[in-house]
Amino acid sequence: MLQLVFLIPIIAGIAVFFLPVKIGRLAFIATALFHLFVTALEWFHVTEPLHSKYFSNTPEGMLVLAIMSFLFLFISIYTVFYMAEVEMTKEPIFNGSMLLFLGAMSMVAIADHIIMLWVAIEATTLMSAPLIFVHRSKASLEATWKYVLICSVGIALALLGCFFIIFSMETSDLHVPISFSSLNGVAAQLNHVWLKAGFIFIVIGYGTKMGLAPMHTWLPDAHSEAPSPASALLSGALLNCAFLGVYRCHQLMFNAGLGDYSSNVLIAFGLASMLVSAVFILNQTDYKRMLAYSSIENMGIIAVGIGIGGLAAFGAMLHMIHHSLVKSSLFLSAGNILLGYGTKSIDKTRGMLRLFPKTGITFFAGFAGISGFPPFGLFVSELLIILGAIKAGRYVVITIFIFSLILIFAGASRLVLQMVFSEPENDDKLVPERWTRALPPIILLLTSLALVIWLPDSLYQTIQNAISSIGGTVNG
C-alpha cells in the first residue's frame, strides 16, 4: 500500500509526542528505518497504490521520496545526538514534528491528484513550522512567522493555479479525474490560456516554497533559524518536494504543447534565483544563511536545467539528488559548527581545521562538492546542464548561468576558506567534536561520492523515466 509511506510517519509522529523521551528517540529512528524500507518497496513497485485516484507511483516522485527517506534516516540519527547535546526540553515535540513533516513530504511525493498535491505541500509548511519555531527565540519566531505567512500566501496562489488548470479542462468540455496522470493523457486538448495562467500561479506558488527568487525571501531566515537537522531536512527534502509540484505542472504544459512557454518561465525564475543568491552570498556574514542562499542557487540551477530540457534535464535531476545529499551534509556540519562555536557568524568561526578537524574537513569537502568539483556529483550535473543549454542554443542563459556560478563560487569560497583554514581566535571549544555527530554528514557526502562512481541501473532508469515526460534524454 503506497499510502503507508505517509501514514506510518504521521502515526509514529503523533505517538512520539506522547512517548517518554528515550522511547521516543528509539521510535523516531525506528520509523526512519521503516520508512526507508517501505520506500524501497515502493521503489521496486512491490505494492500498488490503494486509491489510485489520489496517489500514484511516478518515477520523479519516487526519486524525491527515495532521497527524502535516505536523508531522513541519517538526519534522524544525527538529531538524536544533536538534541542530547543541546539538552532541549521539547525534544518529543521536535522529533514528532520531524516525523509529521516526513509524512507530509512523503504525501507530496506520491500525490497525483492536483488538489491533493496542494494539500500535501501546504501540510509540509504547517508541519515544519514547529521545527523552526522550536527555540522560541525572537529570531526563530520571526523566521517562523515569515515562513508560515509567505509560504501560505504563495501556496494559496498555487491553489488558484490549480483551479485554473481544472477550469482549462472544463472550458474544453473534458471530464477526466483531475489528477496529473489523467490530465497528461488529455493535455493536448486543454485550454491553453487557462493552462498557462494556472502554470504561472503554480510556479509562483510552489516556487515560493521551492525558494525561487523573488519569492525566496523566507528561505534564508527559516534555514538559518531552524535547528540544523531541521535545516538539513528543509533544504534536502522539502525544496525537492516543492520542485516536484512545479515539475508535475511543467510536464502537463509540455504534454499540452506549451513546453516552450513553461521552459522559459522556469529558466527565468532559475536565473533570477541564481543571481539573487549571488548577491547575498558575496559578503555574507552568517554561514547558515550562506548555505540557505546556496540552496536557492541550486534550486535555480535545477529550474534552469529542467527548463532547458534534453540533456540538461538529466543534469537537473542528478543535480537534485546530489544537491540534497551534499547540502544536508553541509547543514549537519553547520550544526556541529554551531555547537562547537556557539555562533553563526562567519567571522567568529575561524580555524575549524585546528579546533574541529573532522567537521572542518567534512564542511570543506561539502563545499567543494556544492561548488561542482569532482569527485562529487554536482560536477557532472552542472557540466551536463551547461552542455545541454548550449546544445539547445540558449547562449544568453548559459552566459548568465556561468556568470552567477563564478560569482557565487567567488563569494562562498572566500568565506569557507576563512572558516576552515584561518587561525582560530582562541582555542575555546563549547562542545568537543564527537564521531556520532560527525559521521552522518560524512556518510551523506560519501553517498554522493558513491553515486558518482557507480550509478545504479535502477536509479538511472528512474531518472530517465522521470525526464522522458518532458522530452529529456541522455542522448539529447
Binding site: 509567505i150 509562483i204 552542455l387 548550449i390 546544445k391
Partner: protein, 652 residues
C-alpha cells in the same frame, strides 16, 4: 597501457600511504618520495618508448555513470606531454625530501604528498583523456589537488588569499572550458574526440576561444595570469616547480589538443594566439624584470614563456591556415619543445629559489645577494637555469626558440596579415629574448652575486644534498638538450604530426641544421675551454692579488650602495610605462641639511588593476546596492510575490 597504469598506481600508492603513516615522519617521507619517483620512472619509461618506438596508440575505455565512457588514449602528443609530467614530478619529489622538514606539521606534509601524487595522476589523465568528459573530470581533479598544494602554509593569510585567487581562476576557467565543450557537443552530439573535426568553422572558433580562455587561465596567458604571481610564491617550492613547470602546461596542452582535433582552416586562430603570445611574452618578461620577490619574478617569467610557447603554436596555426608546411611544422614543434624545455628550467629555477628561501628565510631579492659564495651548488645550477631560460646557446632554451624563429621566418614569405603577424612574432621573440636576459641577469646578479644585502643572506649555508642533486639533474638536462638536441627535436616533430596537414612532414632538410647548431654549440664549448686554459697559462707566474672593489674614488663603500634589483629594473620598467603601473614614494629633500629621506618604488600589474577596477569593484558596488532586496520587511516580501504575478501575467 598497463605500464601506464602501473605507474599511476605506484604514484597513487605513494601518496595514499603518506596519509596512513604520517606519524612516523621520515619513514613516511622516504616511502612517499621513493614510491612516487618509482612510479614516475615507470611512467617516463613508458612515455619515452611510446614516442620513439612507433607503438600504436592505445585506447582503453570504461563505462561510467551509465551514460559516459571514461576513455584514455596515449598518442604521440600525450606521450610528449607525459615526459615532463613524470620527469619533473620525480625530480621535484626528490627535492621535496629535504625541503619538507617540519615534523611538527606531519599531517600537513602527508596531505601534501597525497595531493602531490593526485596532481601527478590527474595531469597524466588530462593528457591521456580521449573524450570530453574524461578531460573535464581529470582537469577538475587537477585543479582541486593543486589548490590543496598551494594552501600548504594555510595558517598564513597571504597563502589563503593566494589559494582563494587561484581557486576562483581555476573554477571560472573550468566553466569556460565546459562552455566550449558545450559548443562542440551541440554539434557532434557525442563526447568523443573524433567527431570534433566535423563541426562548422564558426562554431570551431567560438569553442576554441572559450577553451582558450579556460585553458589560458590555467596556463597564465596575460590578462588571465593574475593568480600565478600569488600562487607560486605561496606554494612550497617543489609544488611551485611542478605547477609552473608542468601544470600550467596542461593549459597549453588543452589548447594544442583541441586545435589539433578541430583541424580548423581559418587564419583567425593563429592570429589570436600570436597576439596573446606577444602580449604575454613581452609584458610577462617586463613584470619579471620589475618584480623583486624572486618567486613572483619567476611566476611572471612563466607568463613570458607561455607567451613564447603561444607564439610557436600561433605560427604553427598560421602555417596550417596558409598551407605552409614548414611554418606549421616548425611552429608546433618549437612550441611543444619549449613546453618541455621550460618545464625543465622553470622547475630548476623554482626549486633553486626554494632552496634560497629555505636557507635565507626571505624571498625579497633586495635582501639577498652574494649567495654564490655560501650556496655554490645552488648558485651554479641556477646560473645554468638562468642562461637556459634566457634562450641562450648552448643550452636548451635556444633550441626551441630557434625552431620557432625558423617557423616564423618561413612565414615571412606569406602575404598580407599573415606576413605582418609572422614579422611581429619574430620581433616579439627577439625582444622577449633580450629582456629575459635582462630579467635573469638581475635574478642571478642580485641574488647570487655581489655582497649580501642583509644578515639573512650573509648567514646562509648550502641547501641539502638531495636538493642540490635535484637541481643538478635538471641543470645537466638543460645542457644535454642544448648540445645533443636531435632526439628531443624529433620527438617534438613527431608530436606535432598529429596535425593532419603535416602528418607526412619529415624535417629531413632541417635535421642537418639542427646538427649544425649542436656542433656550433659544441664548438663554443670547445673554444671556451681552450680560452679558459689559455687564460690560465697567461696567469701562470703572475701576481694575483685580492682587494676591495674599486669604488670609483669613493673610499667607504657599503652594501647599501649596491645596485638593487629595483634600480636595475627602473629604466626598463619606465619604458613600458603605460602597461605597467609604477608606484613611487619619495620623501623629497626639503631642508638645507637633509634629514632622513626615503624612497620606495613598487610595480603593479595592470591586469590586476584592470580586473579590480572594471570587474570586481563594479560587481561589488552593484551587489551592495541590491542588498535591500532582503530587507527583512514581510510586507515587502509579499509585494515581491504580487509583483512576480503581475509581471508573469503581462508576459502570458
Amino acid at each position: 597501457m598497463n605500464t601506464f597504469f602501473i605507474a599511476l598506481l605506484l604514484i597513487g600508492a605513494g601518496g595514499l600511504q603518506a596519509l596512513a603513516t604520517f606519524r612516523i615522519y621520515s619513514l613516511m617521507k622516504t616511502i612517499a618520495v621513493s614510491t612516487i619517483i618509482g612510479g614516475c620512472g615507470v611512467g617516463l619509461y613508458d612515455a619515452i618508448t611510446r614516442i620513439f618506438q612507433q607503438v600504436d596508440p592505445v585506447v582503453c575505455s570504461y563505462e561510467w555513470l551509465q551514460m559516459f565512457t571514461f576513455s584514455l588514449n596515449i598518442d604521440a602528443v600525450s606521450a610528449f606531454f607525459l615526459v615532463p609530467i613524470f620527469a619533473i614530478s620525480a625530480v621535484a619529489a626528490l627535492y621535496s625530501f629535504q625541503y619538507m622538514h617540519d615534523d611538527k606539521r606531519a599531517a600537513a606534509t602527508a596531505n601534501n604528498y597525497f595531493f602531490y601524487s593526485l596532481l601527478i595522476i590527474s595531469m597524466a589523465l588530462v593528457v591521456c583523456a580521449s573524450n570530453l568528459i574524461t578531460f573535464a573530470l581529470a582537469w577538475e581533479l587537477m585543479s582541486i589537488s593543486s589548490f590543496f598544494l598551494v594552501i600548504y602554509d594555510v595558517h598564513k593569510k597571504s597563502t589563503r588569499d593566494a589559494g582563494y585567487i587561484y581557486f576562483i581562476f581555476t573554477q571560472a576557467g573550468a566553466l569556460f572550458i565546459f562552455a566550449g565543450f558545450g559548443f562542440i557537443y551541440s554539434y557532434t552530439g557525442s563526447f568523443a574526440f573524433e567527431a570534433i573535426a566535423a563541426i562548422p568553422e564558426s562554431t570551431k572558433l567560438v569553442a576554441f576561444i572559450l577553451i582558450l580562455i579556460g585553458c589560458g587561465s590555467k596556463a597564465g596567458i596575460m590578462p588571465l595570469h593574475v593568480w600565478l604571481p600569488y600562487a607560486h610564491p605561496a606554494a612550497p617550492s617543489h609544488v611551485s616547480a611542478v605547477m609552473s613547470g608542468v601544470m600550467i602546461k596542461m593549459g597549453i596542452y588543452g589548447i594544442v589538443r583541441f586545435y589539433f582535433l578541430m583541424e580548423p582552416t581559418s587564419v583567425l586562430f593563429g592570429q589570436i594566439v600570436i597576439s596573446l603570445g606577444i602580449i604575454s611574452g613581452i609584458l610577462g618578461v617586463t613584470y619579471a624584470i620589475g618584480k623583486q620577490d624572486i618567486k613572483k619574478m619567476l611566476a611572471y617569467s612563466s607568463v613570458e614563456n607561455i607567451g613564447i610557447i603561444l607564439l610557436g603554436l600561433g605560427i604553427g596555426m598560421l602555417g596550417v591556415a596558409s598551407d605552409n608546411k614548414t611554418m606549421a611544422a616548425f611552429g608546433f614543434a618549437g612550441g611543444l619543445l619549449h613546453v618541455f624545455n621550460h618545464s625543465i628550467f622553470k622547475s630548476l629555477l623554482f626549486m633553486g629559489a626554494g632552496s634560497v628561501i629555505h636557507q635565507a628565510k626571505t624571498g625579497a631579492s633586495n635582501e639577498l645577494g652574494g649567495l654564490m659564495k655560501t650556496m655554490p651548488v645552488t648558485g651554479r645550477n641556477l646560473l645554468v637555469g638562468a642562461i637556459s631560460i634566457s634562450g641562450l646557446p648552448p643550452f636548451n632554451g635556444f633550441i626551441s626558440e630557434f625552431l620557432i624563429y625558423y617557423g616564423a621566418i618561413h612565414g615571412l614569405s606569406l602575404h598580407g596579415a599573415s606576413f605582418i603577424f609572422s614579422a611581429l612574432a619574430i620581433i616579439a621573440l627577439a625582444v622577449i629574448g633580450a629582456l629575459a636576459g635582462a630579467a635573469f641577469t638581475k635574478f642571478i646578479g642580485v641574488v647570487f652575486l655581489g655582497e649580501p644585502r642583509s644578515d639573512k643572506a650573509a648567514n646562509t649555508t648550502e641547501a641539502g644534498v638531495l636538493m642540490g642533486t635535484a637541481l643538478s639533474i635538471l641543470a645537466a638536462s638543460c645542457l644535454i638538450i642544448g648540445v645533443w638536441p636531435d632526439y628531443f627535436v624529433q620527438a617534438a616533430f613527431k608530436a606535432s604530426q598529429a596535425v593532419p596537414m603535416i602528418s607526412d612532414f619529415a624535417p629531413t632538410s632541417f635535421m642537418p641544421i639542427m646538427t649544425s647548431i649542436a656542433r656550433t654549440a659544441a664548438l663554443f664549448l670547445l673554444l671556451f675551454i681552450l680560452v679558459a686554459v689559455l687564460r690560465k697559462l697567461l696567469y701562470t707566474g703572475k701576481e694575483i692579488t685580492k682587494s676591495g672593489t674599486w669604488g670609483c674614488g669613493f673610499t667607504q663603500p657599503t652594501v647599501r650602495m649596491q645596485y638593487t634589483g629595483t634600480s636595475y629594473a627602473d629604466s626598463m620598467v619606465d619604458f613600458f610605462r603605460p602597461f605597467i603601473r609604477v608606484q613611487k614614494k619619495y620623501s623629497g629633500i626639503n631642508k638645507i641639511f637633509p634629514g632622513k629621506t626615503t624612497y620606495s618604488s613598487q610595480i603593479h600589474d595592470i591586469s590586476e588593476i584592470g580586473l579590480n577596477i572594471f570587474i570586481v569593484r563594479p560587481i561589488l558596488y552593484l551587489i551592495s546596492k541590491l542588498r535591500w532586496i532582503q530587507h527583512g520587511n514581510i510586507q515587502l516580501y509579499i509585494g515581491y510575490i504580487v509583483l512576480a504575478i503581475v509581471v508573469m501575467l503581462i508576459f502570458i
